[in-house]
Symmetry: C2
Subunit: 376 residues, 2 copies
Amino acid sequence: MTADRLARLALSRLAEPGNLRMTALVAELGAERLYAELVAGRDPRGTRTDLAERLAGIEPERDLERAAALGMRWVVPGDTEWPSALDDLDDVEPLQRMGRAPLGIWVRGPLRLDELPAAVAIVGSRSSTTYGTDVAAELAAGVSRAGSAVISGAAFGIDQASHRGALAAGGPTVAVLACGVDRAYPAAHHRLLDHLAEHGAVVSELAPGCAPTRLRFLARNRIIAALSRGTVVVEAAIRSGALNTANWSLRLNRPVMGVPGPVTSAPSEGVHRLIRSGAATLVTQAEEVLEMTGRVGDHLPELPQAPSTARDRLTRRQQQVLEAVPLVRPAGPDSVARTAGIGAAEVTATLDGLRRQGLVERLPTGWRLADDEVGG
Amino acid sequence: MTADRLARLALSRLAEPGNLRMTALVAELGAERLYAELVAGRDPRGTRTDLAERLAGIEPERDLERAAALGMRWVVPGDTEWPSALDDLDDVEPLQRMGRAPLGIWVRGPLRLDELPAAVAIVGSRSSTTYGTDVAAELAAGVSRAGSAVISGAAFGIDQASHRGALAAGGPTVAVLACGVDRAYPAAHHRLLDHLAEHGAVVSELAPGCAPTRLRFLARNRIIAALSRGTVVVEAAIRSGALNTANWSLRLNRPVMGVPGPVTSAPSEGVHRLIRSGAATLVTQAEEVLEMTGRVGDHLPELPQAPSTARDRLTRRQQQVLEAVPLVRPAGPDSVARTAGIGAAEVTATLDGLRRQGLVERLPTGWRLADDEVGG
């Protein structure tokens, strides 16, 4: 097991995350044998001129030791902590020539990856609005209060707000990085990441010290999607990386949800497109998210029912009379009786009852609807 | 034909709009015979004690004359102006014990009801926000510019904004009332309605002089839905009358569309619910509305494509190199070459080309991505 662990670490340093050739070779030969053959100078499926040089620079034992000293662990398939949800990546089509489960995953923090309760990814734009960050924090707090973990990146905007909301609710939260878990990108989030490493988890498939690249962000998104039961996109412009995460979620057959916003707001454009296309379900609150990501029956959302009004409790006869009362120009009881098709005496008694309930008013010239009962 | 026209007018005064018993009797006996029998004192299917008295007060000839003098016309089935779209109401299930095509329809204004080009209903809350009225006016203007008529009520808020937008674009617009077309409800919209009667049309199934009631608003909504190819709901709280119009549109098998808004805004709650339930399609602009209501192929919407960037025009080799360039900490060309798996000389030349395109920058310590190219 240790040999496999070390081989996976070394191989993860040889190829970019999500590299299909590498994962295919590991699947075919096993990590241990592949690494051994490469070290022995036998490039089993082709040649890369600088391979020997690169292998020489890789010392997985030293990597592991140094990482352990800094509180980082390398979790690989077969470990009890390995989140089996990541294996689902092996069954989905690659995206932008990337895919498959990572060779292993680095973790910094007390949260165990095999114990992420019904995790929800909340992702979105770095260039978010105040509306977007408020909603993201509120959603994350709601999801947390229900006991679900929140998963996001570590960018400005929606990512940051999601962690903030989860932390405020005292819930578990996970940042997935496109660089080593010992690095802070953006640098301004150094403290946020340290805090997450103390109270939640910071994870990455990239070895400590690795720098972020655009490709690594795209590969990282598949980890966010795979660790979660569903992905909520809060604000995303047309070309946002959050839409890439949503795409991974769809490939994994997990629900994608979108929080709408003003149609005049560019950061909501990508979300509206997701909803229009049918790829995402519109959500407005944490209950609706939990409904789609929780175990069935776990979280029955409270539907926003219209408040029950005096009008709802009327008898059929009262309704008939009420519907015959004019909105503006008052009418005498005879006129109301004619419109309602009911006798005048009964109408007068009914009108009096309706007045006591505040539904109609009596003016010197007759009866009309009370002001706030006018329809529109 | 004149006898039928007069009979329909008289009968329309005898029953509330959408009264199922009246329309069933007209369908069975014809308006002329039904009216004749009622006048002759033979109540053909039951008795209403005050019927004789009410019939005595109805003078359809005088109604028609007075209305004509005031520029109002009574359009009935068989007239060339009769909009056949209203007949579709005869094929749908009643809602709240109302339904069916009206016995006739009053029109005030130059617009002919048989010439409403691909009309779109734009409806929503009276208690709208500035966001809602801005979007409604913008949508109505866009729909108008494409040559489609706008149909709405005459309430404050979204109704008013829709007419305003259509008028600003010089397009045809129609207000459907829950009272006589000679009345203004709300009174503050007296001028708006006069303006519509000069440039568009004000219509109602209620005879001149009739007052609005809540029931009449509900019946009115089916006319708005039936005259339109589809209904757009801009803002609607959970108990908004606009949702009733949407319901009629669904019954008529015509598309319902909803404009989203902030999830923190109560006037958007009803719209979000419509979209979540699948009853409405999310729309953000007039092109998307026209796509759903126009003739097929008429209005291919311009999809909001992400603008093409320098990155989109790169060769495969340039992309490989670019993806190996770090985001923050600069790397020398050798390091980039190793990550990319490409020879150092070629990498140096490629990096220089990428720099000229503004995608990477050269610092004293090496290369890194240009600031605005960092993913997230």
